[in-house]
């Protein structure tokens, strides 16, 4: 099981801050995970309707869409950051 966490409007659209999922074997990268999540229901489709905008982190480090998800304990999806 892999922990997924969501922030800001990604969290609001999906409707929950986190969940545990069993990743299918054909989901190898962050981009593939986003695509797979988008197919899980309209709330996910809404969150990932513009997948280029959604950023990701694996185990609390920023990653690119082609980053492998194998071995990840916690994968986060969130909009571009607006702190500071």
């Amino acid at each position: 099981m892999t922990k997924l966490v969501y922030f800001a409007w990604v969290r609001e659209r999906i409707g929950k801050p986190e969940e545990e999922v069993e990743l299918p074997g054909n989901v190898r990268t962050v981009a593939e995970l986003a695509r797979w999540l988008a197919g899980r229901g309209e709330e996910y489709a809404y969150a990932f309707e513009n997948p280029d905008v959604v950023r990701a982190a694996i185990d609390k480090k920023h990653v690119k869409p082609d980053a492998p998800v194998a071995g990840a304990r916690e994968i986060a999806f969130f909009p571009p950051m607006t702190g500071g």
């Binding site: 966490v5 982190a57 702190g83 500071g84």
Partner: protein, 156 residues
């Protein structure tokens, strides 16, 4: 060895106390730069900003940004404090303090920290309007990306 001061907190901060922390009892600091980011009321339309963050990653990312600043500039101290939760107009959001023997290092490192923090630290701002509606999430600015990109090449 310089140990960065990194804090993610709901409480307010005190710039003078943080300057003192980097200068008290030592005489090798010639320059201290602080940057304070505050909540604006956007012409009276904003009631508050709500700052969401990714606990754990926020600290780690600020640690990484501070470590990178220490690698690039000869700093005697570096501090980054970011608040979360609801912040009213006029309230403090973020504080960065850099100390060095020389002013150029302190200024450049302060700008670097803010530029990097803006585009890398996992914080998101939601606007609450004075008319009672909970408004939109603040959109990231391409200007901020550009500002961060100017540090892409290592500097002397």
């Amino acid at each position: 060895m310089v140990v960065p001061v990194i804090r993610i907190q709901a409480e307010d901060f005190d710039a003078a106390a943080e300057i003192a922390r980097l200068t008290a009892g030592r005489a090798d600091v010639g320059a201290v730069v602080t940057f304070t980011g505050l909540c604006r009321d956007e012409g009276g339309t904003l009631a508050a900003l709500e700052l969401e963050h990714y606990p754990g990653m926020a600290e780690e990312e600020l640690e990484r940004v501070a470590a990178e600043a220490l690698r690039r500039w000869p700093l005697t101290g570096v501090t980054a404090i970011h608040r979360y939760g609801k912040i009213a107009p006029g309230g403090n959001i973020v504080l960065v303090v850099t100390a060095s023997a020389h002013r150029t290092a302190a200024f450049e490192a302060g700008e670097f920290l803010m530029d990097y923090l803006k585009t890398r630290a996992p914080f998101w701002k939601k606007e609450h309007s004075v008319d009672g509606t909970s408004g939109d999430w603040v959109e990231a600015k391409s200007d901020d990306d550009k500002a961060a990109q100017r540090w892409a090449e290592p500097r002397p």
